[in-house]
């Protein structure tokens, strides 16, 4: 089984071990190519971003302006705050130098002056590990001023680690840039995109930690090699973080396109007590959940999951067995997005709070059938109409959980008796029943 990132080499996180295995040699190879050639190689490899949207990495790099009177930047997103997603920290811990080497190559490809690795604030230990790796790379002259000498190149760049302060929204690319700039992390309206107007108003590319960590292997082994791993439309290995009701929760590096059932039953050891699966969220808590009867034959890659009615997201697979109370699960998930909404745009700011209140009420056994319609209505109105994708992230679980597990939610609520109250007669906008119906009652 081919692995790229989480290799079975003891102490691979140490710079000496990493270098013994050919680490940092690929930088030389990359620097002997032209930046455009590097971008081309990544384009052809078919590498897709591992940060959630599965966007083609080479294509993203090619958006960077070739000429600019401003410095350019690379941001590497290690904010990893999505519930169910815990894969990037494996890289910080077990293969930090692949990330640093990838950053050196990516920076070169887009001609960035510096890379900022933004790490989730709660990751104290992992920040230390990454910092140690970076310090080592600096002291060996692999990054910064001395790299010119080391790699015999006119190009140089710096890498900085920026600690988050505990807000999920900082993982959104433009929020992340505002956060680095020292501003409140409000997502920016796009366009303009970061390649035009990014960090400090300069051209910027942003990629996930895992995305960047794949780069050295691609350059070293060539695009053909990479494109043949796993599902062709979403090639390479993916780091799947499996959690929830499984025997062996953890991060598994597997070729894309692996069967979801394989992942759960073979790699993660199946469900404790041999219970049935009620629900699986395949890509981190914001992705549409699948019913237990929907997972058969589903392959784990962006296109296959899309076809199955969900999304690969960050590959965080959350498994819930038949005894799980989905109302409480949804209330908890919604609480998270409510709490993390930055408060900039109305649908997300107000909608998440409203959905949470309704779900909590249902969880307390005080909900009514109209609450379910309301939830779906609010979620649909949020979806696609917010400044950033946190709105969607909050809306999808609500929309899909309630529609896909309708029975369970129906059971949790009381049937509502519609009272023709005066205000309803006056305002038909939200009245479920036409006026004639109301009069009949």
């Amino acid at each position: 089984m081919e692995k790229i990132l989480l290799l079975d080499i003891p102490n691979y996180h140490r710079i000496d071990v990493y270098r013994e295995h050919g680490g940092y040699e690929t930088v030389k190879k990359a620097y002997s190519m032209s930046p455009d050639e590097v971008i081309d190689e990544v384009k052809k490899s078919g590498l897709r971003g591992r940060g959630g949207a599965s966007f083609l990495t080479g294509l993203k790099w090619s958006f960077m302006p070739k000429t600019s009177d401003k410095p350019k930047y690379l941001c590497i997103n290690g904010d990893e705050s999505e519930p169910g997603s815990f894969k990037d920290r494996q890289i910080f811990e077990f293969n930090p130098h692949a990330l640093i080497e990838g950053a050196l190559i990516a920076c070169y490809a887009i001609q960035a002056k510096a890379a900022y690795i933004y790490v989730r604030g709660e990751y104290h230990n992992w920040i230390e590990m990454l910092q140690k790796a970076l310090d080592d790379a600096y002291s060996m002259g692999l990054v910064g001023e001395k790299m010119k000498e080391t790699f015999q190149t006119p190009y140089e760049c710096n890498i900085y680690i920026h600690k988050g302060a505990g807000a999920y929204i900082c993982g959104e690319e433009s929020s992340l840039m505002n956060s680095i700039e020292g501003k409140r992390p409000y997502p920016r309206v796009k366009p303009p995109f970061p390649a035009q107007n990014g960090l400090w108003g300069c051209p910027t590319t942003i990629n996930n930690v895992e995305t960047i960590s794949n780069i050295p292997a691609i350059i070293k082994n060539g695009w053909q090699w990479f494109s043949r791993i796993g599902e062709p439309r979403h090639p390479g290995t993916l780091l799947f973080g499996v959690s929830g009701h499984v025997m062996k929760p953890g991060v598994y590096e597997l070729p894309s396109g692996v069967l979801l059932t394989d992942l759960i039953y073979n790699y993660a050891g199946g469900v404790p007590g041999g219970k049935k699966i009620k629900c699986v969220i395949p890509g981190g808590s914001s992705m549409p959940p699948l019913r237990g009867d929907q997972i058969e034959g589903v392959k784990m890659d962006a296109e296959s999951l899309k076809a199955a009615g969900s999304a690969i997201g960050t590959g965080g697979v959350i498994v819930m067995d038949e005894d799980t109370d989905l109302v409480r699960v949804l209330a908890r998930i919604t609480k998270f997005y409510y709490h993390e909404s930055c408060g900039q745009c109305t649908p997300c700011r107000e909608g998440t709070g409203w959905m949470l209140k309704a779900l909590n009420r249902i969880a307390r056994g005080q909900g009514t059938t109209s609450d379910l319609e309301l939830l779906i209505d609010v979620a649909k109105n949020i979806e696609g109409n917010t400044v950033c994708a946190l709105g969607d992230a909050a809306a999808w679980p609500v929309k899909f959980m309630i529609t896909r597990f309708r029975d369970e939610f129906e059971k949790a609520v009381k049937k509502e008796v519609v009272m023709p109250v005066a205000s309803m007669v006056h305002s038909m906008r939200h009245t479920a029943l036409p006026l004639a119906e109301l009069k009949k009652n």
Partner: protein, 907 residues
């Protein structure tokens, strides 16, 4: 010419300007679309998601997609729908969301009836509440005397912080917290520090920030009788709307004028109005009856008869006019006493400096910009003016000008300039060049490169700049290195500029500064460059005063030294604010009768032998000329007790009674204005800046009261159940009632902004030709000063010597305070709270040498008198200079330039 585009909105084709966003375009077309976060002066950020419309790819696209109109550039061939059911449903949904946490406390909300949120809610059609949960609540803050804070009403549109921080440069208001509990306020309770904070009243679309001065004497806003007015608190001449009920002036609002103050006012202008309601108002004539020593109240007829008798029996009557009185008032007094005996109640120094400013603008080839045009300048050099305190709205305009250069960098990135968030991100902290040369540190320093020095040193810098631009301009000699380097870089910036501006004024009482500023402009012009020149003036009609011309107070002093006169008439002027007390005292003693026309008690009225109660701006009509030379008409808001009349009406009545029958021809203000023009032809045109009193639309007058006005049949019921006949207004085509023409009046006659469905200040959109542009019919007012394109003025040559501090002596420099230096606004309780106590300003070096700190007291010898003043340290002040707050309550009046000796120190 703007690039035009054809777009289709709900099936109708419109030709529109393609440089605008879709929301602006829709509003300019006078269509209705809801919005919150967008503001015409602040651009788009796309946060509230209220302005959603359907956009279709092409004619085959039937489904379309929702887009935020404020974030959509107008593109030729664009197809959109406002009326699309999905878009409408979404917009109603946004309101529904906002309402989940909004308290619905309209009945007790100060904003009610003039609330953008109410209007947008109605427009969206949302009315049935599905939210059945508790709302979030906040703790409110004390924000000072001007603003009331009620955070529960917040809809998180972010306009307040965008205005306060990005537009006005404040930093003590911010947004805190996350998700649905974001909080807009200060880090702790306290007075908001920014001088433009009051605009939040209009910027905030809800009742979070409301006018605390109105709150002190609250009335529903639709119950106000309002009239278009002009601010009287400095020389900028911002346009205001003044509202009254029950004989009390209740509030001031911005009157949009696309050429002057746009959407905003400063806090002095907005909150200074309460002097009109002051307990010190003079409401009845006061006469000294024969044989008595004190004044007693008299009725109107007695007063006229008595005063006319005095005038008839006087051999000589001297008249003292005022720069805070209208052109018409001054002209009428001048007509009474004759030109020979008419003097302006301002010191010669100020009068001649202002005259000089006017002459430079009138006889030179340099244009002076309007306030709005200042915003568009790309390089600004400020000589000697602490603008935030001497001409606040010019400071706000300069703050916008620093954006001119950086914003251009958005063009190559195809980022539209109205896309505020993206532009700010792109330009970061970059600012266009602004240079501030003042004796002490000022608020504008935060956007400028600064120079500190005495008035003479500032003038020398000005001369050096002129010299660096054009080799034939007189140069200052023995320049130190700082001045050399700075003047070099300023001249470079000016040479590169497309629209450079020089700002100066007479605040530091320095002729050399006024001259140096002109020299820079002349040098630029010689070098074939475009340039504009702006002089600040201290009072609302200072420019009108020097345009009328005449003699100053010093000459009046001289005149009575030579021959005694028996009667003095002082109009709207407190001479004790104008010159040293002993001088004024000596002057007044020369008269047997001192007749004072004024509206508020002051040191001069105390010396009067007769007092005539005249109308303040709110009870008068008249014309002021602002610093730009723009003649602007203000209108009576309400009729107080009948004895309070315009100065000009009182004086005319006295003239007629005392036998000058020819003046009985003057019946309404227009007669006065036209008589004035006849005698002073350079005022030609000021009679047509507004329609004549006989003007009617469809036979109707323009009502000062909105049609929602309530209580008029009941409000006098404690006295009579009959509805009294409303007062007649012979001076304007406006009525004091709610009857009259309900459509849009001519731009100079707008008493309030209102349009069906638009009850808040946002109704302004409907009064403009296009959003943010001129009002329909053109912005009111007339510029009386235009440059002579072929004039070839010669350079000034009075380059002063370098300042050398003298041991043991401090040269005083005047210090100004937005709250404190103005005569009238300090009578408003709110402003009064913010007036600093008397003090003397020292440099850190001098303070260290004298071993004093901010708590210490100094004993100063000024002009033979000893004063004790606490010390304030200003980091910018140079050693050898001491700042002396002028016309601050409690400070004496001194003649500049003046040096003081420190006779004692109390630590």
């Amino acid at each position: 010419m703007a690039k035009m585009a054809k777009i289709i909105i709900d099936g109708k084709t419109y030709e529109v300007d393609s440089s605008k966003n879709l929301l602006e375009t829709i509003l300019s077309l006078k269509l209705n679309l809801q919005y919150f976060c967008w503001h015409p002066a602040m651009g788009s950020v796309g946060a509230c998601r209220q302005c959603a419309v359907k956009k279709y790819r092409d004619e085959n696209d039937k489904a379309g997609k929702l887009f935020m109109a404020c974030m959509e550039p107008v593109v030729d061939g664009m197809r959109v729908s406002i009326e699309d059911p999905e878009a409408k449903e979404f917009r109603a949904g946004v309101i529904e969301w906002l309402m989940t946490n909004h308290p619905h406390d309209c009945p007790v909300c100060d904003e009610g009836g003039e609330c953008h949120l109410q209007d947008m809610t109605l427009m969206s059609g949302h009315n049935y509440r599905r939210f059945r949960y508790k709302k979030r609540t906040y703790r409110n803050q004390y924000l000072g005397p001007f603003l009331h804070h009620e955070m529960n009403r917040c809809i998180q549109c972010y306009r307040c912080v965008r205005f306060y921080r990005d537009y006005a440069g404040g930093d003590d208001l911010n947004v805190f917290g996350v998700h649905s509990s974001v909080y807009f306020g200060r880090h702790e309770d306290g007075v908001l520090e920014n001088e433009f904070a009051g605009n939040l009243v209009e910027v905030c679309p809800t009742g979070v920030f409301t006018d605390n001065t109105l709150f002190q004497h609250y009335t529903r806003k639709w119950d106000l009788t309002s009239a278009p007015s002009v601010c009287v608190h400095c020389g900028v001449g911002c346009n205001t709307l003044a509202g009254e009920r029950y004989g009390k002036l209740r509030r001031i609002l911005t009157r949009y004028n696309g050429q002057v103050n746009g959407y905003f006012l400063c806090d002095r202008g907005r909150f200074g109005y309460e002097f009109v309601n002051s307990e010190k108002r003079i409401r009845k004539p006061m006469l000294r009856l024969s044989g008595e020593n004190r004044l007693s109240e008299a009725d109107e007829e007695t007063a006229i008869t008595e005063i006319s008798a005095i005038i008839k029996s006087s051999r000589k009557v001297m008249g003292i006019g005022s720069p805070r009185a209208s052109l018409e008032a001054n002209f009428t007094l001048r007509s009474l006493v004759s030109e020979r005996n008419f003097y302006w109640g301002v010191p010669e120094q100020e009068f001649s400096l202002l005259t000089k400013e006017m002459n430079i603008l009138r006889q030179g080839s340099i244009r002076t910009p309007s306030l709005r045009e200042i915003e568009k300048c790309d390089v600004v050099v400020i000589l000697g003016e602490d603008l935030t305190n001497t001409a606040p709205m010019i400071a706000l305009a300069v703050r916008q000008s620093v954006r001119q250069v950086p914003v251009q960098s958005a063009t190559p990135y195809k980022i539209p300039h109205w896309q505020d968030a993206a532009v700010r991100e792109l330009v970061q902290d970059e600012k266009g060049p602004v240079f501030v040369a003042t004796p002490y540190a000022t608020k504008l320093d935060s956007v400028a490169r600064t120079f500190r020095g005495s008035a003479d040193e500032i003038a020398r810098l000005g001369y050096a700049i002129a010299g660096a631009i054009s080799s034939d301009a007189p140069k200052a000699d023995n320049l130190n290195e700082e001045v050399c380097v700075l003047s070099e870089s300023i001249s470079k910036a000016l040479n590169k500029a497309e629209r450079p501006l020089i700002i100066a004024g007479q605040s530091l009482k320095s002729e050399a500064i006024v001259n140096a500023a002109a020299n820079i402009a002349y040098a630029m012009r010689k070098a074939g460059k475009n340039v504009e020149l702006c002089y600040t003036v201290p009072e609302c009609n200072s420019m009108g005063m020097v345009m009328m011309g005449g003699k100053a107070l010093d000459q009046a002093f001289h005149a009575v030294e030579k021959e005694a006169m028996d009667t003095l008439i002082i109009m709207e002027n407190d001479l004790f604010r104008r010159d040293e007390k002993q001088a004024v005292d000596r002057f007044l003693k020369r008269f047997k009768n001192i007749i004072v026309l004024d509206y508020i008690e002051n040191a001069t009225t105390e010396r009067a032998t007769a007092i005539i109660p005249v109308g303040s701006f709110a009870e008068s009509d008249g014309t002021f000329v602002n610093n730009e030379g723009r003649a602007q008409r203000f209108y009576q808001v309400f009729v107080p007790n009948k004895e309070i009349k315009e100065s000009w009406r009182w004086v005319r009545n006295i003239m007629v009674t005392s036998g000058m029958k020819e003046f009985s021809r003057w019946k309404n203000l227009l007669d006065y204005t036209q008589a004035l023009i006849k005698e002073m032809p350079y005022f030609t045109g000021i009679d047509t800046i507004t329609p004549p009193p006989g003007f009617r639309i469809a036979g109707r007058k323009i009502p000062r009261e909105p049609y929602r006005y309530s209580g008029r049949t009941a409000m006098h019921a404690d006295k009579t159940v009959h509805e009294p006949k409303p007062p007649e207004d012979v001076d304007s085509p406006m009525s004091f009632t709610m009857e009259g023409y309900r459509g849009q009046p001519p731009s100079s006659l707008i008493p309030f902004f209102w349009s069906p469905g638009w009850n808040s200040a946002q109704a302004i959109n409907k009064y403009q030709i296009e959003v943010g542009g001129p009002l329909h019919g053109g912005d009111p007012g007339k510029r009386l000063i235009e440059p002579l394109p072929n004039a070839k003025p010669s350079y000034f040559t009075d380059v002063p010597k370098a300042f050398a501090p003298r041991e043991g002596e401090w040269m005083l420099v005047p210090v100004y305070h937005i709250f404190g230096s103005d005569e009238l606004s300090v009578h408003s309780p709110g402003v009064r709270e913010l007036v600093p106590k008397p003090y003397i300003m020292l440099s850190p070096d001098d303070a260290a040498r004298l071993q004093v700190t901010s708590d210490s007291e100094l004993e100063l010898g000024i002009g033979g008198q000893v004063e004790r003043l606490p010390v304030k340290i200003n980091l910018g002040l140079r050693p050898g200079l001491a700042g002396y707050p002028v016309t601050l309550p409690g400070m004496s009046v001194v003649r500049f330039p003046v040096s003081v000796k420190i006779s004692g120190v109390k630590k």
